[in-house]
Symmetry: C7
Subunit: 100 residues, 7 copies
Amino acid sequence: MASQFKKLAPLLNRVLIQKYEPVTKTASGILLQSSEDKQAVGKVVEAGPGQIDSKGNVIATLVKPGDVVLLPDYGGQKIKLADQEYFIFRDSDIIGILHQ
Amino acid sequence: MASQFKKLAPLLNRVLIQKYEPVTKTASGILLQSSEDKQAVGKVVEAGPGQIDSKGNVIATLVKPGDVVLLPDYGGQKIKLADQEYFIFRDSDIIGILHQ
Amino acid sequence: MASQFKKLAPLLNRVLIQKYEPVTKTASGILLQSSEDKQAVGKVVEAGPGQIDSKGNVIATLVKPGDVVLLPDYGGQKIKLADQEYFIFRDSDIIGILHQ
Amino acid sequence: MASQFKKLAPLLNRVLIQKYEPVTKTASGILLQSSEDKQAVGKVVEAGPGQIDSKGNVIATLVKPGDVVLLPDYGGQKIKLADQEYFIFRDSDIIGILHQ
Amino acid sequence: MASQFKKLAPLLNRVLIQKYEPVTKTASGILLQSSEDKQAVGKVVEAGPGQIDSKGNVIATLVKPGDVVLLPDYGGQKIKLADQEYFIFRDSDIIGILHQ
Amino acid sequence: MASQFKKLAPLLNRVLIQKYEPVTKTASGILLQSSEDKQAVGKVVEAGPGQIDSKGNVIATLVKPGDVVLLPDYGGQKIKLADQEYFIFRDSDIIGILHQ
Amino acid sequence: MASQFKKLAPLLNRVLIQKYEPVTKTASGILLQSSEDKQAVGKVVEAGPGQIDSKGNVIATLVKPGDVVLLPDYGGQKIKLADQEYFIFRDSDIIGILHQ
């Protein structure tokens, strides 16, 4: 249903993330699978404005579109927009921002 | 019972939502059902004034009537008003606002 | 025991509600029962002054006597006053105020 | 043990209540027992000064000695003072004050 | 191990209590045991300075040495000091102060 | 691994404690074991600076090095520093300070 | 996947830790394994800016890169960066800072 919509503006501190496809095949075609490859890395596509504190003020979301982030092994909510698969995470569940 | 009432003014941060019917049939009549189609999309019909914080101030509800929203896979409370089916969600449970 | 008392002044944000009898019989005498009829609608008879916040201030109860309200499917506490059956709900558990 | 003591000054928002004996026998001696008679009604004998909020201030107890109150079906702590049976409730657990 | 120490200065809102021996024998030597005798009555021997609130201020302990208190049926921590048995309770768990 | 380190500066309100060996043998060599001997007594070796309250201020740890303390029957985390066994407790879990 | 990234900037009060390899073999090649060796010691590689309090202020992380820390027996999240194994801990879960 959500496939016909192109853009999602997440509420609160929710973050829309496009996960990187895990490279589990080498150039020669051998499939590599190790426990370390389970880790999810993704790019932030959209980020909500932030959580609301006990005084009604907004605590700005910790990541911004374009950030490459390390995600927890479990959690996140799979959604589909314009036939593309995305994940929704709370910014507080994102482990950190990756740099090469 | 509630069918004889035409309008509901939700309390606090509750949101009255009319879900979009999932299109599970193609023009040629073939039924399509995929796990991605489970996602619920709906239109906000009524929104409560907002949650009350620890100081008694109102934190305005995050969505307004007319917004098309992405809903979580589970949750929401089914109600019936004037023979129409609606759902009640807390604004904090709504994932985000959809744009085409 | 409580039947000999005619009036209850609820404490905090409790609301005394008289539920509407569900109309489950048509004029011609046929019993109608549908899942939608489970929903509870009631009239507010008495409302407590309100919840007390963390600073000792009263947060006024969200409904007032005379309001017709939509109640959750479950919950509420059955009580009897002057041989009439009532229900006690917290105002925060009431879904919204109904209008015809 | 507590039977030898005549008075209890409850701490915080605790309330000492003497329950009314349920009238389960009619004048003609027939025992009446209905689900409505389960409800507990009692008179407040002693009330603590009140709960302490997060700033150390006292939030005065909601009922005072002499109030006739409607109690929840479950809960309360049975105690004995000077061979009389009483119950201890938190004021926030008392449903409301009854008036005839 | 703690038997060789004579004094305990309880931390926070902990209270050191010496329970009264339940009188379960009459003068004529008959053992009396009733459900009411389960109630624990004790004398406050030492009281901590008090709980610390969310601002770091101390909320003074509700009882003081010498107070005779009514204790809950369950809970409390048995300790031994100088071969005497005591109990540790949080002041918020003490029901009230008894007077004869 | 931690055995090669001589000193631990505990974080927050953690307290490093060296437990007293329970004397379970008399001078004549008879082993004494009673339920009262289970109680743990220890000396504070190091104490963290304190818990951080909701405003970011430090609430100073309730005990200091050298204090002899009564510990709860259960809990605490066994660690080893320079081949000596210690226990880590939160100051809020320590029952009180013992005096002879 | 995360192996191709060289640096992680942890969010909030998360700390990136490189655990020390437990020395479980002596110079003569005998494997030593004792319960005390279970304890995890590690070096802080990166530390997030800190937790956000209820007012939106940052409470600075308790450890800094280079600190050698004592870790709890359980917990922590294994991650891999540039083919090196690391662990993520919240600063509040770290027991203390070790000194030789």
